[in-house]
Amino acid sequence: MLYDVVIIGGGIVGTSIARELSRYNLRIALLEKETELAFGVSKSNSGIIHPGTQNPPGSLKGCLCVQGNTLMRKLSKELGFDFKEVGELIVAFTEEEIARLRQLKKEAEALGVPRTRIVDGRWLKAHEPNLSGKALVALYAPTAGIVSPYRVAYDLAENAGRNGVEIRTHTRVEGIAPAGLFQFEVATSSGIFKTRYLINSAGLHADDVARMAGIDDFTVRPRKGEEFLLDKKRHYLTNHVIFPLPTKISKGVLVIKTSDGNPMIGPTAEDISDKEDLSTSDAGLAKVLTEARKLVPSIDENDIIAYFAGLRPVAGDDFIIRHEDKVPGLVTVAGIQSPGLTSAPAIALMVAGILKKKGLALKKKLLFHKKRKHAIHLFEIPLSRTKKLIKKDAGYGEIVCRCEMVSAKEVRDAICHGAKTMDGIKFRTRAQAGRCHGSFCTTRIMKILAEETKKQVTEVTKRGRGSELVKEDRANG
């Protein structure tokens, strides 16, 4: 069988492209090496929808970010994920920083970031009471928002799937053989995919994939970021996403409001060489705590309930999004670090444009399922609504995760919508992600997952083959 388009990499970029292209009469496959989508770079994303500030004028990043911020709102309505417009504050502590802040404001305006303004100490005291008293002024960008990055990726993929895209997880690309103009044979761990157009959105491994196709003019270097998550009961910590002034390599350590309610502090920025090194360190924690407390001094170490590290795929200063004229039909989408999540819908449009220009006929489907039903999360709805839900389905009254208030019904729904692993359930529902870290709910969720996927409990994994939770079933042999 010949595909029109094969997309390599099922992170936020790959799933955005898949969903965008699923509007058209095309035969599309999305290949992901992990057991679930968004288990690579995307899983460690902090969920900020940037307004477009802090990008150099004229950069691809800046332009796609501003556009993506608008598109993400539309997507949230269509796909039913939460988008909260909380706004961001970039805080200045010295006269010198105020001067840089004014420069940032100018650059943001040049990029078209709407409604930015400088707010003074009095405004900050009134609107962000936990912010350090030493803050002089801040650049306020009201259009910044927050989403759950995994849910965005999962919802995009599910909707793409509904519109005919084949989603192949556990499918690792092993070789790419150009078989003539606009003809590729992609060899994978689950067989060969023949396609006319090939999109390389392989995140950290985009350079490896590019080399398979004969492109070797860029390298992806991992830049590690350690993030620390605070207890949900501190949801009130800040009202906005809080930034220090950016440095050359990163936006600095932030205090982030998240869509699930748990404040997040971080990330660090450390250039490393190992694309699989997701370890966290004492030094990372110390740095993040020190830096975050400069912004919000009341942050308490005892409130940290989780931490993790993510890797940003860095390939130069800007995104690389281009058709490879040397290999007709191949589109590279690499170096998608921050603001990659925000830009993803705009990247998808840009890729569709490139494909069209390179001869792919984009003919709209007669029936495109634009909408997806909003998944229910008890923690984000009022109890009055929970009451009605429980009457309709008793499963909502069966609480599985006590810390984050997740019901058995939500866990079953997550599985029904594609979760295959314990982490997949965690990312979709937040079950096991709270202060007890799964101590109380793991057994229950394992059993539900085994039951729904008709597997043995011993086959239940944390995040795919090799990460089975238990070794033996003594009760059932």
Binding site: L383, K387, G397, A475
Partner: protein
């Protein structure tokens, strides 16, 4: 909204003892809310013996100890037990919202006893660096997997911390045929009971490293090994003392924290360090009529002490109710 004289949240040893005591002290309208499908709480997974020596002057297993109270509680018609009932909201005026399969209920008690127990500190709370693969369990979760579900979590184990559950699990894993390679304790002495150090480690020749900590966890999908390092008096790593142990499983047993998020929601003042309610009198809180007992008041070593504490809570709740009339 239903009105009740006394609601008790939690049907473990603390909640059951408080219920029986309140009844014996004259309270005739008691509702016990238990989120699990049976009474007894964590005692159900404690199949080892050593319970009841002080309170019953007998040596019992956890389920046997629980059974004595389950019998009492279920024999008294004035004590209503609602299982699979999960409290989702507690207001300052003691109005409780709880959900159970098929229902969301609101109840307003005149007095409230919280017997919500405690939870284990996690790897995250003590910041053990390294990766986050499968194979890292709290000791209590491992205990539940083995004793309730019949599942063996791993075969080569390193235990972090020498809390009682960790020590008990060292023996349990050994009896199940797994190998416990080390118990690593950052303090100079054990946090657990001496009898557990002797009966669970020494009798099985399991090495216990005092003044040591895990420096790093390795493994991508599943735990593969840990670095262990000696620490000085200030808990700083001693250079050159690092060594490596292979394992597929890490149990974390580094202490317990009272589970008091509900009363925190209601505005009860909590001690930031212990997560216990700030209180002048035993079992009382900063909100009159809200009492806390058992491990949610203070983490006890023995269930016998939990019972004793909860008997007092039942009595003072009864006295409080009388004072309202």
């Amino acid at each position: 909204m239903v009105s009740r004289d006394l609601v008790i949240v939690g049907g473990g040893p603390a909640g059951m003892a408080a219920a029986v005591s309140a009844y014996e002290n004259g309270v005739k309208d008691i509702l016990v809310l238990e989120r699990d499908q049976y009474l007894g709480g964590i005692l159900n997974q404690c199949v080892h013996t050593g319970f009841g020596l002080e309170y019953f002057k007998e040596i019992l297993t956890g389920p046997e100890y629980a059974e004595r109270f389950i019998e009492k509680v279920t024999r008294v018609p004035e004590i209503e037990v609602s299982l699979k009932s999960f409290v989702v909201h507690l207001a300052k005026d003691k109005t409780l919202t709880y959900i159970k399969p098929g229902k969301l209920e609101t109840v307003r008690p005149k007095a409230l006893i919280m017997a919500t127990g405690c939870r284990e500190k996690t790897r995250e709370m003590v910041h053990i660096p390294g990766t986050r693969p499968a194979g890292i369990f709290s000791a209590g979760l491992a205990q539940k997997l083995i004793n309730i579900e019949g599942l063996l979590p791993g075969k080569e184990v390193v235990i972090v911390g020498s809390g009682d559950i960790g020590l008990i699990m060292a023996r349990r894993f050994t009896l199940e045929g797994a190998k416990v390679n080390a118990v690593v304790e950052i303090q100079k002495q054990s946090r657990g009971l001496l009898r557990n150090v002797v009966q669970c480690l020494e009798d099985f020749e399991i090495p216990l490293y005092f003044s040591h900590k895990i420096a790093k966890i390795y493994g991508k999908d599943r735990v593969e090994m840990v670095d262990i390092v000696k620490v000085d008096e200030q808990f700083n790593e001693v250079a050159g003392s690092q060594f490596r142990i292979a394992c597929d499983t890490i149990l974390v047993s580094v202490g317990l924290i009272p589970e008091n998020e509900l009363i925190e929601m209601a505005g009860v003042e909590l001690d930031k360090n212990t997560n216990s309610p700030v209180s002048d009198e035993v079992n009382e809180t900063s909100i009159p009529g809200i009492f806390v007992c058992g491990n949610s008041f203070k983490v006890y070593d023995l269930v016998d002490s939990v019972t004793k504490d909860s008997v007092i809570a039942g009595r003072i709740a009864a006295e409080y109710l009388r004072s309202l009339k």
